[in-house]
């Protein structure tokens, strides 16, 4: 075997990369515009502070997202399509609002609303237990804990630092990067016009939608979930339980310790220089 060949094998990968053809240039072009719009919108919302910029930002962001969405395959029956997009909007818009709002309390609440949207999407997909669990556990318990701590730590409701995010440039970069990521995913998902429904990420074909899916979509979904949960994943469940216990004990011990440490301000214990 030719020794020198061996040396160069690794680097010689030309036959693997698919040529990115001009066909899907227009799709990429449109996506780029969408990404730019979304980024600009978010940037206006976050970096600029006047009322008008906020309204403009919302408009731009919405336009960008919709433009991106138009790339995707449309869910055929119109009823479903409309339903889906409503729920999607219910998930996405509060999330955007959460980021943008200046009051941490409002963000928490917007987050809860967004959870509602996500849970409904999960239900829409047939994951009944998860949908409800998200609503009950996540929105109910976790977000409420957030609010408690928020109340404890921020009696005034909001701090100056809530109004100021970082300088205009870092915000711009963050928005651009994030929306760029989304654009990339969409470009990956959207079928290249020429190829036969084939997207660059050759999606693995779904397993036989026979036995498994009907088991998954079976009305007694939760029963099936339970059976799987306590057979295949028994160990994981036990571990999760232990994890929760540890978290509990941890949180309590910390708070107790902190309490003692912070007995009364000004009793000779000066704050560390925290800047």
């Amino acid at each position: 075997m030719d020794w020198s060949g061996f040396l160069w094998a690794a680097a010689d990968s030309s036959e693997l990369a698919t040529p990115i053809g001009p066909a899907c240039a227009c799709v990429a072009g449109r996506l780029l515009v969408a990404v730019a719009l979304a980024a600009l919108g978010l940037w206006c919302l976050l970096a600029l502070d006047s009322k008008w910029t906020r309204r403009g930002g919302v408009g731009l962001a919405a336009g960008g997202v919709l433009l991106m969405a138009s790339q995707l395959q449309l869910v055929q029956p119109w009823g479903d399509w409309l339903g889906f997009w409503l729920l999607a909007a219910l998930a996405v818009l509060p999330a955007a609002a959460m980021i943008v709002s200046h009051r941490p309390v409002y963000s928490a609440i917007w987050f809860a609303v967004s959870l509602l949207g996500v849970a409904s999407l999960l239900l829409w997909q047939g994951a009944q237990f998860l949908g409800l669990a998200t609503m009950v556990v996540y929105a109910g318990a976790i977000v409420v804990t957030f609010l408690f701590v928020l109340m404890l730590a921020l009696p005034a409701g909001y701090g100056r630092y809530d109004r100021i995010s970082w300088g205009k440039l870092p915000v711009g970069v963050a928005c651009l990067v994030a929306s760029g990521l989304v654009g990339l995913c969409v470009w990956g998902l959207s079928p290249a016009p020429g190829a036969a429904g084939e997207s660059p990420w050759q999606l693995a074909k779904p397993a036989s939608t026979g036995m498994l899916s009907e088991d998954l979509l079976h009305p007694a979904h939760v029963a099936h979930l339970g059976s799987h949960l306590f057979t295949e994943y028994l160990l994981a469940i036990e571990l999760a339980g232990v994890l929760l216990l540890m978290a509990l004990v941890g949180a309590v011990s910390w708070m107790a310790q902190a309490q003692r440490y912070w007995q009364v301000p000004g009793d000779g214990v000066e704050r560390t220089d925290h800047v």
């Binding site: 978010l42 976050l46 502070d49 997202v65 995707l72 395959q73 869910v75 055929q76 029956p77 889906f84 999607a88 996405v92 999330a95 959460m98 941490p104 928490a108 999960l122 997909q125 994951a127 998860l130 998200t134 556990v137 408690f148 404890l152 730590a153 921020l154 409701g157 701090g159 100056r160 630092y161 109004r163 100021i164 995010s165 970082w166 963050a174 928005c175 990067v177 994030a178 929306s179 990521l181 989304v182 995913c185 998902l189 429904g197 693995a204 779904p206 498994l212 998954l216 799987h228 949960l229 994981a236 994890l243 540890m246 949180a251 910390w254 902190a258 912070w262 704050r271 925290h274 800047v275």
Partner: protein
Amino acid sequence: MSDTAILQNHLFVGAVLFALGLIGFLVRRNVIVMFLCVELMLQGVALSLVSWSRYHGDWGGQMLVIFIITVAACEAALGLALVWIMAQRGGSLDIAIWQTLRERDQAPYTDREVPEEDRSVEDWPQLTPAGVEPVHPREEDMYRSHV
């Protein structure tokens, strides 16, 4: 409705949620809001996991989401305890305070311009007084010029 269409749409929504969470985390300065954004990113991931599990007809995705929720709960508990301690010690929830891990000879990251407090715009929520009057932090904490 073709499965791939459903998958694609859900993945798109998951991606958007993830991106928003990411932006929130990078941009916001309030520790709790950053924490919330992380939770949001988790939700984006959970959504795409479920859609893939549905697409592949495999329980794994959903199982993982369950565990994500568990972990998120633990994390929230511990995280918030820490945040609280930070707030007590640092005096405020601003992430910019905590820059002591930097190299000795490096300057901390400070905001260039601090926009003046535009009091006229805000309409304060009038919360009904509850229990003991909390200790009002000293004035200067609120409008401190440096970080």
